[in-house]
Amino acid sequence: MEAAIICNLRVHGQGENKHEEKVQDPDREKHEPKADMGSKTWADLAGEMKIFLWNPEERTCLGRTAKSWGLILLFYFIFYTCLAGMFAFCLYVMLLTLSPYTPRYRDRVSPPGVMIRPYLNGFTIAFNVSQPNTWQPYVDSMHHFLAAYDDKVQEEKNIECVPGQYFIQGGSDSEEKKACQFKRSLLQNCSGIQDPTFGYSRGQPCILLKMNRIIGYRPGAGVPVSVECKVQKGNESHLRSVDFYPGNGTFDLMYYPYYGKFTHVNYTSPLVAMHFTDVQRNHLVPIQCSLHGKGIINDLNSDRFLGRIIFTLSIGK
């Protein structure tokens, strides 16, 4: 009974005191912050590392014995071989579904972008008329580029087509397609035939403009796409006259559509030559040449080569 009473007292005493207070036991502060993990010395670490790299007692390298390494490498060899097999199989199946002549989607590549020739490290064409070595590289580049457009070559490989209408060739996808002639001579003053310097020697440079090839694309929807050039930002009087060849600077419909490089082997992109006959000398003249036609986009801010091209002419004496 006595024990009972004492026990009871104790229980009550504790019952009264069941509340945790906000203050915490100051004793806790006496603990020193425990030594950190990093307290091992570098020598210890190096020693451990050495054992890990090669443990002579258990004959393990990186924690594995030779047999264990063998097994694990074998496993991974098989595992990765299977994975590679599956990868190859998936790609193979995927490629089987693709036509070798026409890509499945062409939404990312159209409408067409534009490039110019000559192109040598950037879009600034700068030369001094009086110093041939400054413009000779451009001229060489033009000649090189136009070699494929030589009248002879074109006549040999390609056929003459009916201008003003799309040259649509039926038949199966795999059939070889004919290409239309685009003779260099069409470029007249810019053909490099009469003036092998393409006007550079007179400070009237020719620049060729070409539209990116897109399979099946029919630019302009029946009306040929034309080219127009103007000064981009700046004094418009700096660009006084431009001549376009062939025609009035249009891409004839007969060169489209394009059928892809496997069947349309000899296809040569049509060109528009721009002859800058009167440009302000000794000035950087930024010029934007853009395509005009139905379906052509030439004002996309993010893509400055879509339907237009910007380059700078700087012609010195």
Partner: protein, 1035 residues
């Protein structure tokens, strides 16, 4: 001291010690003043500061000084006035680390440094490229900004989480404020301790924390533990006498925040709040040693591992790309990409969230975790040293057995008994019940009629309470029965008599006799009896009946129960007429030759949930050791009834008894169980203790002192065990601190114990500990799953960079896209894994070995990185090549194409079909590739999420739909991907483009492959435990 380190609930994830250092150093400077030369200087400072003279004053002078009265206390109005003047009796929190510093710390910890480096490189390359006039220079600026944003946002999140935890802790401490028993308006009141004011008369008793500085005016065996103040661990006695000039030395002052170890005392509050001695020692108010818990170490280990991988792959490929003649600048950009791909940016936030979720869940189950990482420590517990009283038992005496009519009856001892099933038809029982009812001074507190009987509060000691409740259950309204049998005289229990006696009028109006009832120690009661009641008839007490009594008494005692004997006597009407004046001092009434009626035995019965919990522990490989101050017999009985000592096992003594040989001759190894007496323990060397702990699976320590608990804990730790210890008393604090996880009792626990503990059991129930263990193991498992899930896709993010560098293909995935996976689609799914239910075997496993079983082990990393991660990469690359091929770039064309592809001057780039692309068109295609790669990773992460639900069991056994949160995760993942792809597909800076619908399904076969492969892995692990496969594939 006021403020526990604020990251109670947030894990110390970053583990960077230098972060802590600033704080520690700050404090150390302070400490150097007061702690450096510690006690001596501290004492000196105090002496200087202390102008206390209250200890010299007499009681009446004190009354004068504080305008109070010892009998009446302060008036409430006066107290309110003083409270308004002095402020609450609480310490002002120490100046906390400035919020901005805390915030900045979050900004530079862990992976953040790596990301800052990435951002720095981005800005540098932006600067260089800008100077070179490269168009795409701004991409690097954006990337740097995004990386910085990521660090800042995750930092803000971590900071917010920390602040929230601080609030949680604050709310907990509000929920259970310290109370003080105060005399006000001549009434004793329980008040929150912070309401105390100078002049209040307070009462304290053993186990209490002293609520303010108190000048003692009445004491009874009072001892205080001043260790928090002076460092002396010996309790010091306290009295009302002025013994020393120095207020720190004198005996009649008790100090705020010290603890009363035993006895009781009354005193006048002389200082409150910051004016207390403790309040003046400002240094004590701040700085807590910050020990790293296992989970913090694990997470640190993991951060090192991932950072190591990131840096080494980054540097390796930096070297490779430089030697492949990439420009240095490009190589640096690759390096950024590799770092970003390798660092799981969202993971640390996820881990914190998962741990807080568990802590909340545990709080619901009555485990209040003070220190979040303790949850996990609990999970690795291998020994639990549990108290008996209140933890294993219900902490209330309950009638367990009865003996009358030569027969033992068992009573129901469950927590919610409403009836008693034993046979109550015998007239002896009627007589016995009357004695039980009448010879009892315990009473129910009024106003509890609606409560169940077992829950009602009783004024009276434990045995009487048990008897009162017992009779209330059986007979109904005990108080009215007592009223009908008016008590005319009474001798309360005292230790010389060892009995309690009372004399009543009977409720039978015809019967004018008085009824004398008596209860007490059975042998004393029997001595006073000459007859015994059998089946309602008084029979002479012959030796045979006395023998039966002895047998019953021994049997009940042997069950560890406290036995009481009951007898009565109807006083003859002629000798004791109605008007007779009973005098309890001279005892003018017979106290011998009474009629013995029966025995009742009581025990503090085990909680009904405990046996189950103990058997769970057993299967979980956790040894449960009972440590109690109780008698060995009682301890053993309870241990047996809850299964701590299983039914079949024997102690050395049992074997000796069975074989009838001396104890010394028994082979100790045969005995699985042991009951160790505190007296034996005292004389034991630590080797002997170790031997006992080693040799016996089932151990009970009885008659132990709290100090011995510490020895036991140390013994267990010498065995390499992770020890959890429960405790309630002040003296348990050392053991609680010493243990790997200290568990304090929420109801019975003293404040000191709660402070020393890592966890508070709100319901004092042992079963809750087991719940905690389960949660701890579960969170460890689930964190493994979360990390495995998160690490996997890092490879799918990394491979593109490596292949980009080596094979020079167009970039398959952008750095910003990677961040959208890490911080967008992957976050909710990885938190969802924290809700995963345990795999069925969670409590059948052995406890985690701290050294061997890492959170992120080699198998986990290798399986995630080199198997599932590679599969994901392959799946994503198939999608990538499909997207490019269908747009015109066949895989063969893509190889080695990088330089021209990225040259923004080339605007007639030819694809496999002869079409020509502008630079921007290619970039747009590249972003479509990013999106496709991203979508493929997302789709395969769905499969990854599903396979991570289990590590061993089949998913179908775990149930696909049991964890609903996983599905929330999957839908959120796909939803976010849809929004990014189609909603934000036009925001150029984010590099997402709308994607053709079919590309969502290209990676599906690989997702299925991942699932099937993992099922096969699990099947083989289950089929061939211990095999090569198991060893290498089970993480």
């Amino acid at each position: 001291m006021l403020k526990r380190r604020s990251d109670v609930y947030s894990v110390e994830i970053y583990g960077t010690k230098d972060l802590q250092k600033t704080e520690i150093e700050d404090e150390e400077e302070k400490h150097k003043d007061q702690k450096g030369n510690k006690k001596k200087k501290k004492a000196e400072d105090l002496k200087k500061e202390l102008d206390l003279d209250d200890h010299r004053l007499s009681t009446s002078e004190l009354e004068m000084k504080y305008g109070t009265s010892i009998d009446k206390g302060l008036s409430s109005a006066r107290a309110a006035e003083i409270l308004a003047r002095d402020g609450p009796n609480a310490l002002t929190p120490p100046k906390a680390t400035p919020e901005i510093v805390k915030f900045l710390k979050q900004m530079i910890g862990g992976f953040s440094i790596l990301l800052w480096i990435g951002a720095g490189f981005s800005w540098i390359s932006f600067g260089i490229q800008l100077a070179q006039g490269v168009d795409s220079a701004f991409d690097n600026l954006y990337l740097g900004v995004v990386l910085a944003l990521v660090v800042i946002l995750t930092g803000i999140f971590a900071y917010y989480q920390e602040a929230k935890s601080t609030n949680i802790m604050a709310s907990f401490s509000k929920m259970i404020p310290q109370q003080a028993l105060v005399l006000r308006d001549a009434e004793k009141k329980e008040l929150p301790a912070d309401q105390l004011v100078v002049g209040d008369i307070v009462e304290i008793k053993g186990g209490d924390r002293i609520p303010a500085d108190i000048r003692l005016i009445f004491t009874q065996g009072c001892k205080v533990d001043n260790s928090s103040l002076t460092g002396e661990s010996e309790p010091q006695s306290r009295s009302c006498d002025f013994t020393h000039e120095n207020p720190l030395e004198t005996r009649n002052i008790a100090f705020y925040s010290t603890t009363c170890v035993e006895g009781t005392a009354t005193g006048i509050v002389i200082n409150t709040g910051d004016r207390t001695i403790i309040g003046r020692i400002a240094s004590l108010a701040s700085g807590v040693g910050n020990e790293k818990t296992p989970i913090a170490i694990e997470i640190e280990h993991f951060v090192y591992l991932v950072a190591g991988v990131a840096i080494s792959i980054g540097v390796l490929f930096f070297i490779i790309s430089v030697s492949m003649r990439y420009k240095i600048l490009d190589s640096i950009i690759f390096l950024i990409g590799i770092i970003v791909a390798n660092v799981p940016e969202g993971l640390l936030a996820t881990v914190t969230v998962s741990l807080s979720l568990t802590a909340k869940r545990m709080a619901k189950k009555n485990c209040l975790v003070k220190n979040l990482e303790a949850v996990e420590t609990l999970g690795s517990t291998s020994i639990i040293c549990s108290d008996k009283t209140g933890t294993l038992t219900q902490n209330r005496m309950t009638v367990a057995h009865l003996w009358f009519d030569n027969q033992i009856y068992s009573a129901d001892t469950s927590e919610d008994q409403t009836t008693q099933p034993f046979d109550q038809s015998s007239p002896t029982w009627t007589a016995l019940s009357k004695i039980v009812t009448l010879c009892n001074r315990a009473e129910f507190r009024p106003g509890q009629e609606n409560l169940p009987i077992m829950k009602r509060v009783v004024v009276g000691d434990a045995s009487e309470t048990a008897l009162l409740k017992f009779s209330e259950v059986i007979l109904g309204d005990v108080m009215s029965i007592r009223a009908q049998n008016t008590k005319v005289a009474e001798i309360p229990f005292n230790s010389t008599n060892k009995f309690q006696l009372s004399i009543h009028e009977t409720d039978d109006p015809q019967d004018k006799r008085f009824l004398l009832v008596m209860k007490g120690a059975p042998e004393r009661i029997l001595e006073r009896c000459s007859t015994i009641m059998i089946n309602g008839k008084e029979e002479p007490l012959d030796s045979e009946k006395a023998e039966a009594f002895q047998t019953a008494y021994m049997e009940l005692g042997g069950m560890g129960e406290r036995v009481l004997g009951f007898c009565h006597l109807y006083l003859p009407e002629n000798e004791f007429p109605e008007t007779f004046q009973f005098d309890t001092d001279s005892m003018n009434f017979p106290t011998s030759n009474l009629c013995f009626v029966g025995l009742l035995s009581m025990i503090d019965p085990p909680r009904s949930t405990v046996p189950d919990a103990v058997s769970k522990c057993r299967s979980a490989g956790i040894k449960v050791i009972m440590v109690t101050g109780d008698h060995p017999i009682t301890a053993k009985a309870i241990a047996k009834s809850v299964g701590i000592i299983s039914a079949t096992s024997e102690t050395v003594e049992d074997i000796a008894k069975r074989l009838n040989i001396p104890v010394e001759q028994v082979n100790r190894r045969e005995a699985t169980a042991a009951v160790v007496n505190g007296m034996e323990l005292k004389d034991m060397s630590s080797e002997q203790l170790d031997a006992i702990l080693r040799e016996h699976a089932e151990i009970v320590f009885a008659r132990t002192s709290p100090q011995q608990k510490l020895i036991i804990v140390e013994g267990c730790q010498r065995q390499g065990a992770v020890v959890a210890v429960t405790g309630d008393g002040v003296n348990d604090s050392p053991a609680l601190k010493k243990a790997d996880i200290g568990i304090a009792m929420g109801i019975a626990g003293s404040d000191a114990a709660k402070n020393a503990a890592d966890m508070v059991l709100l319901d004092d129930n042992f079963a809750s500990i087991v719940t905690g263990v389960e949660e701890g193991r579960l969170i460890f498992d689930n964190l493994k799953k979360t990390i495995a899930y998160t690490l996997t896709k890092n490879i799918a993010e990394l491979c593109p960079f490596l292949i980009y560098i080596i094979a020079s293909i167009p970039m398959p995935i952008g750095t910003i896209t990677i961040l959208f996976i890490d911080l967008g689609t992957d976050i909710i799914p990885s938190v969802a894994l924290a809700y995963e239910k345990a795999e069925s075997d969670i409590m059948n496993r052995r406890p985690r070995n701290k050294r061997r079983d890492r959170l992120v082990n080699q198998q986990l990393a290798v399986y995630s990185y080199l198997q599932i991660g590679i599969m994901q990469s392959v799946g994503a690359f198939v999608t990538y090549f499909t997207v490019y091929a269908e747009q015109g770039f066949l895989p063969s064309t893509l190889l080695g194409v990088r330089v021209n592809w990225e040259n923004n001057a080339i605007n007639d780039f030819e694809d496999s079909y002869g079409q020509q692309w502008t630079h921007y068109q290619r970039m747009y295609l590249q972003w479509t590739g990013y999106t496709a790669f991203f979508v493929s990773i997302t789709i395969q992460q769905v499969a990854d999420l599903i396979i991570r639900k289990t590590r061993r069991n089949s998913i179908f056994r775990q149930g696909l739909f049991r964890n609903k949160v996983i599905w929330v995760g999957i839908f959120s993942q796909i939803g976010i991907a849809l929004i990014l792809t189609y909603g934000l597909g036009h925001v150029t800076a984010l590099n997402f483009t709308p994607l053709r619908f079919q590309y969502w399904f290209v990676a599906v076969p690989f997702a299925i492959l991942i699932w099937v492969y993992d099922e096969i892995r699990k099947l083989l692990i289950r089929r061939h435990p211990g095999s090569w496969w198991d060893k290498n594939m089970y993480y």
